[in-house]
């Protein structure tokens, strides 16, 4: 498989959120606005990049009998690093994403890529795969976050979009709004795909 294909497949054809429906817990929970979605996406991408790289690097050393616990240790290490770094230098984002950062550990997207891709491929293509999958994940979170923020608070990145007369659809930033917008987006995508 060419590197370009590895990269673009994560963006669209095998998009983790819209196509594989992986890691939906953080997707639905943190996307109350575009900034949180973007932040969570980037944090996940960073963890994915590191874990894919290290897993690919160690793919011949890790005995297959303990590969899953080994992957989890590697992922948890990078998640903890992300958490510490965010708390030290991007405190506000850290507070907004709160409990969802540690949950990156159990995002099945990351373990899935380690198991299905990085443990069998060389380092470079694993990194490309991570960037592709991560960008697709970030894109999905950003789109969902933006939609919910626009309808739910009438803002985008905290900038008011509509006049004072706009009554925000509060439901959109509440948990049901996550399911509703996710469902509508998926339906819309399926419609266009099936043409």
């Amino acid at each position: 498989m060419s590197l370009k294909k590895i990269f673009t497949r994560g963006l669209w054809k095998e998009n983790a959120v819209f196509k594989l429906l992986l890691g939906l817990c953080p997707v639905l929970a943190v996307t109350t606005n575009a900034e949180n979605g973007l932040g969570m996406g980037l944090a996940t991408t960073f963890v994915l990049l590191c874990s894919n790289g290290v897993v690919a690097l160690m793919r011949n050393i890790i005995p297959s009998g303990v590969r899953i616990p080994a992957f989890i240790i590697i992922i948890a290490t990078f998640v903890t690093i992300v958490q510490l770094v965010m708390e030290a230098w991007t405190y506000e984002l850290y507070q907004a994403l709160g409990i969802f950062i540690p949950l990156i550990v159990c995002n099945c997207l990351i373990l899935g890529r380690a198991e299905a891709f990085a443990s069998k491929r060389p380092v470079f293509s694993s990194l490309v795969d991570a960037i592709g999958m991560g960008s697709g994940f970030t894109l999905a979170l950003f789109v969902l976050g933006a939609i919910r923020e626009i309808f739910g608070s009438g803002e985008l990145f905290g900038v008011t979009l509509f006049g004072a007369g706009y009554q925000p659809m509060l439901l959109m930033i509440l948990p049901p709004g996550a399911f509703i917008s996710m469902g509508l987006l998926l339906a819309l995508m399926n419609k266009f795909e099936n043409r």
């Binding site: 109350t32 080994a70 590697i74 030290a88």
Partner: protein, 201 residues
């Protein structure tokens, strides 16, 4: 079979040890910045709720005992004291409202020596976005300014008190009103101790 097992154990142990080493490095590199961030956050909240001061309230503290929690352990409240030209001008401390709509709400309450609220600040909460999270807004926090235990009924209007409840967020409002009132009472009961100079720090 045993050899296999040993190989697995050694591999996993090595990976875990490496990860521990890496984490200890990162932890030591971020320890100071994280401490500083938390301190800045505290100073920001203190400056928002205290009257004008020229000392460093975050290091001028006195610790009070305020009842016991559910487990029977004593609850400690750290009072940060503000001074101007060496004179006590106010104190601030964190009150936890355990009865928020979703979990605890931490409120920084700033009080003046005349037993009135100078200002309050919401530190952490998980109230409903769009309804309960209005407690973060300036106009809501201003309701509490210059109010003391005397002359104000510290209940929401629905319960017969003086405070309007936020639409759709009576529980959040009630929690904050209750926490601030408890803070005022705490100050009243411990005034001498809080104002005593030099103690703590």
């Amino acid at each position: 079979m045993f050899k296999d097992m040993a190989r697995l154990l050694i591999a996993l142990t090595l990976i875990a040890a490496l990860s521990g080493l890496l984490l200890s490095l990162v932890e030591s590199a971020t320890r100071e910045p994280i401490k500083e961030q938390r301190r800045l956050q505290m100073v920001k909240a203190l400056s928002a709720v205290l009257p004008e001061f020229d000392n460093a309230p975050d290091t001028d503290t006195v610790t009070l005992q305020n009842g016991v929690n559910k487990k029977g352990e004593p609850v400690e409240v750290i009072c940060y004291r503000a001074r101007k030209d060496g004179k006590f001008v106010g104190t601030a401390f964190k009150m936890i409202a355990p009865d928020g709509y979703s979990g605890n709400i931490a409120v920084m309450v700033g009080l003046r020596p005349d037993e009135q609220v100078n200002a309050i600040e919401i530190l952490t909460h998980a109230e409903t976005p769009g309804l309960g999270d209005k407690i973060e807004e300036g106009w809501f926090k201003d309701w509490f300014k210059d109010k003391g235990l005397d002359g104000t009924d510290w209940r929401v209007k629905k319960d017969g008190g003086d405070f309007d409840q936020l639409t759709g967020a009576t529980i959040s409002t009630r929690a904050i009103v209750g926490a601030v009132a408890k803070g005022l009472q705490l100050y009243k009961d411990n005034q001498a101790k809080i104002q005593a100079a030099g103690e703590g720090s």
